[in-house]
């Protein structure tokens, strides 16, 4: 396949996991007994602050003793229960399939394959905004299935009873198309409603371009068709066949958010209510407001997130990193979900330890399905699940909810701390500590408490 590329994302590692699953958690077995292992010098540099934190098991483990008493035998990593309640839905793993948006990468066959695999994994699936304004919905005179309904059906066919669920986003343009209304009364979604597995996600923003609405690149012809619902701009030049289609981000104040959530709960009482925020500087206030208004889940999309098209300046320079979002939120007052650069167990565990109940797979899921449409996402999830079991049991814990911030430690910032810089060992021995450096060291132990 390899139709997709994701520069800046550990694409090769994700593709390897999609092919080999849990085998990728370990060094190649042929090297066993023949090579001495230590910290890998070739390890990918940390993507961000969240990746810098080390997972730090204690020596004494009272919770392991509890598990030992419970089992009447020594607990093993296989005893870790990864089942969680994510936004009112039961997830077999602390994972869910993030929205892909209405980009070309996110619709069509790849998304269908991802839906089936998410269903088989028993994890919730979020379907992105703007599917209906862009791709349409089934109408009385149109028997073809819309992209959205096709994904719902693919999921339902494969989902084990009682697990997972389908979460459907609605943006401002979706509201015009009344996406939630259409779905809530569609017989196709009745099996989800009757089993409490339908949720609606109010989308207020996204990590890839905080403060902006959705953007996609469309051809000239499609642009003409969409021009009534969206702003379409010729940013690529008048002679280029491509056009930029922009959705509006929507206006929110705390009162608008509170009332929209009430409205959702009132109009769709049998659906769960999720809210997705971009990594805004007032993320803690926003999350508190949403939980207080009865949101079943708050999703925070870190600035590292995004399957979507975005201006370079936004990808590189705008929005809070996920770690800072989680730090600002602190102990969550409700179910917190996190997305942004998730693809392996370590980063997932760090997000869980910082308060998330489950994390979303976006780009990683798309790449995995692109690598192997039948089982790529399942293998990727299996590898993450194994790493989580290993890590959580190493921490002396056996449930996802047992994790907390004590399980992480941030080393001093290598960029500002001389002693952590192996390139200048002589400086450390000389005792010649400059004012600059001691200042940096004084400020270094951020997040270690």
């Amino acid at each position: 396949m390899n139709a997709l590329t994701a520069p800046g994302f550990p694409e090769e590692q994700v593709r390897a996991r999609a092919r080999h699953g849990t085998a990728e958690v370990f060094p190649h077995p042929a090297t066993y007994g023949a090579r001495l292992f230590g910290p890998s010098p070739a390890a990918a540099p940390p993507q961000d602050d969240l990746d810098r934190a080390r997972v730090v098991p204690p020596v004494f483990m009272p919770q392991r003793l509890e598990k030992l008493i419970d089992l009447a035998r020594e607990p093993e990593f296989g005893d870790v229960d990864l089942t969680t309640r994510a936004g009112g839905l039961t997830a077999r793993l602390p994972l869910y399939l993030s929205a892909f948006g209405s980009t070309r990468a996110g619709s069509g066959d790849l998304a269908l394959h991802a839906s089936r695999q998410a269903a088989r994994l028993g994890i919730p699936m979020v379907i992105g905004e703007n599917m209906i304004p862009v791709h349409g919905y089934r109408r009385a005179d149109d028997t073809t299935r819309s992209a959205l309904l096709a994904r719902v059906e693919a999921y339902l066919e494969a989902a084990p009873e009682g697990t997972g669920g389908v979460v459907v986003q609605q943006s401002t343009e979706d509201a015009d198309s009344e996406v939630w209304n259409l779905l809530y009364s569609d017989p196709a979604t009745r099996p989800l409603l009757e089993t409490g597995r339908l949720a609606f996600e109010l989308k207020t923003g996204q990590g890839a371009k905080p403060g902006l609405g959705g953007m996609t690149v469309v051809g000239r012809e499609e642009a003409a068709r969409l021009a009534r619902r969206f702003t379409v701009q010729e940013v690529f030049g008048p002679d280029d066949d491509h056009r930029l289609r922009c959705a509006t981000p929507g206006t929110f104040t705390d009162e608008i958010l509170r009332q929209q959530l009430r409205f959702m709960r009132n109009n769709f009482p049998r659906a769960r209510t999720w809210v997705k925020f971009h990594p805004g500087r007032d993320i803690a206030h926003a999350a508190r407001t949403a939980w207080a208004a009865g949101a079943d889940a708050v999703t925070v999309d870190g600035a590292e997130g995004g399957t979507g098209w975005a201006p370079g300046v936004f990808l590189d320079q705008v929005g809070l990193p996920l770690a800072e979002c989680l730090r600002r939120i602190g102990r969550p007052a409700g179910c917190l979900l996190a997305t942004g650069g998730m693809w392996e167990g370590g980063r997932v565990l760090r997000a869980l330890a910082l308060g998330a109940t489950a994390v979303g797979l976006g780009r990683a899921a798309l790449i995995a399905v692109d690598e192997d449409p039948e089982h790529g996402l399942e293998r990727l999830a299996d590898s993450i699940a194994l790493e989580l079991r290993l890590l959580i049991s190493a921490l002396g814990k056996y449930t996802v909810t047992g994790l907390d911030a004590d399980d992480l430690w941030w080393p001093a910032d290598p960029a500002t701390t001389a002693s952590a810089d192996p390139a200048h060992p002589a400086d450390d021995r000389s005792g010649d500590v400059s004012g600059d450096r001691s200042g940096a060291q004084a400020g270094a132990p951020e997040g270690t408490s």
Partner: protein, 334 residues
């Protein structure tokens, strides 16, 4: 749902031809035409002008409770069949300060409402709006209208009502103009005390409404619904933020809601903000917002469900029994 409520759940309509030939429908239609005559006489006597409402438009009442509007392709533009003509009522006030419609409406209600006995996809409202009026003014008209209609049908067709099993004494309070009043907060408290899980931020659910109606011997107004439970056009109480200056009128003995009404938002900026709060995109309401910018009078008004009114008068179990051409939610019928 408990056994007593299910016992009241009505069956489904027979084939249309059989339904149209039934003596029960004939009786209901004779009561309906008397009710309509009385309503028109009463409102005309109060100085109202009857207009005929629009059927389609670029937008309609966004409504709530999961009901949706039907789409119409209007010369290539996506139009809606009217779920209610509230926006047009407000826009008409400068020319017609006291107006009413007998308005046909279409709402594709969620399928779970098919068994409430109180929902039809096609229905009619006696739709009233009064410029420069308060909620209490609107309630006085709504109460007066119900009183006049009850008085008239018991004068004009008492035999029909008796044959249907109605007792004249059950209408004594309404004919005497006696109505009770409570607030949404009190109604929620009563339901919670009765063990019914009612969301305090929301509309009173179907079962809750039926419980309140069943335990009451007198028609009553429920005032002050919370913001978020109703459309953006219901006015927020400036002295009590989060609470709307609106009301329902609930019939006694389990017949449930007959009327929804409110003071209206008329201030442009408030309307736009309230649209956002209810998840609406203001851009699609362009024509209405232009009217609001130009100045819509403050007003209050209400809609009285005609089929609900006739069901209450006749004492029949379900709305489909008082509609000649009933369409139940989720049922694909002619």
């Amino acid at each position: 749902m408990d056994r007593t409520l299910r016992a009241g759940a009505p069956g489904t309509p027979p084939p249309l031809g059989e339904h149209l030939r039934s003596s029960r429908l004939r009786a209901a239609m004779l009561v309906q035409q008397e009710a309509l005559q009385a309503a028109r006489d009463f409102l005309r006597g109060e100085g109202f002008t009857e207009l005929l409402p629009p059927l389609v438009g670029p937008v309609t009442d966004p409504g709530g409770r999961g009901a949706k509007a039907l789409d119409v392709d209007y010369y290539g533009h996506p139009y809606k069949l009217m779920t209610s003509a509230i926006l047009y009522k407000q826009a008409s006030l400068r020319g017609f300060p006291k107006l009413f419609y007998i308005a046909p409406n279409v709402r594709v209600e969620p399928e779970e409402t098919a068994t409430t006995g109180r929902h039809l996809v096609e229905f009619h409202q006696i739709d009233v709006e009064i410029a420069d009026a308060t909620r209490e003014d609107a309630q006085e008209i709504a109460a007066g209208l119900l009183t006049r209609v009850a008085e008239h049908v018991w004068t004009a067709v008492p035999g029909l009502l008796s044959e249907l099993g109605r007792r004249e004494e059950d209408f004594a309070d309404i004919r005497g103009g006696k109505y009770d009043v409570c607030t949404h907060e009190e109604a929620v408290r009563r339901l919670l005390a009765a063990g019914h899980p009612q969301n305090p931020d929301g509309e009173i659910d179907w079962t809750g409404e039926r419980l309140l109606s069943l335990e009451s011997d007198r028609a009553f107004f429920v005032n002050d619904y919370p913001k978020g439970s109703r459309g953006f056009y219901d006015r927020e109480d400036p002295d009590n933020p989060g609470v709307l200056r609106n009301f329902d009128l609930i019939a006694p003995h389990g017949y449930g809601e007959l009327v929804s009404g409110s003071e209206r938002e008329a201030d442009y900026a408030t309307i736009v903000t309230r649209m956002r709060e209810s998840g609406e995109n203001p851009a699609k309401y362009a024509w209405y917002l232009q009217e609001a910018r130009d100045g819509i009078p403050a007003s209050a008004g209400f809609g009285m469900g005609l089929q609900r009114l006739v069901r209450f008068l006749t004492g029949l179990d379900a709305l489909w029994q008082v509609s000649a051409y009933p369409k139940l939610p989720g049922a694909v019928t002619p």
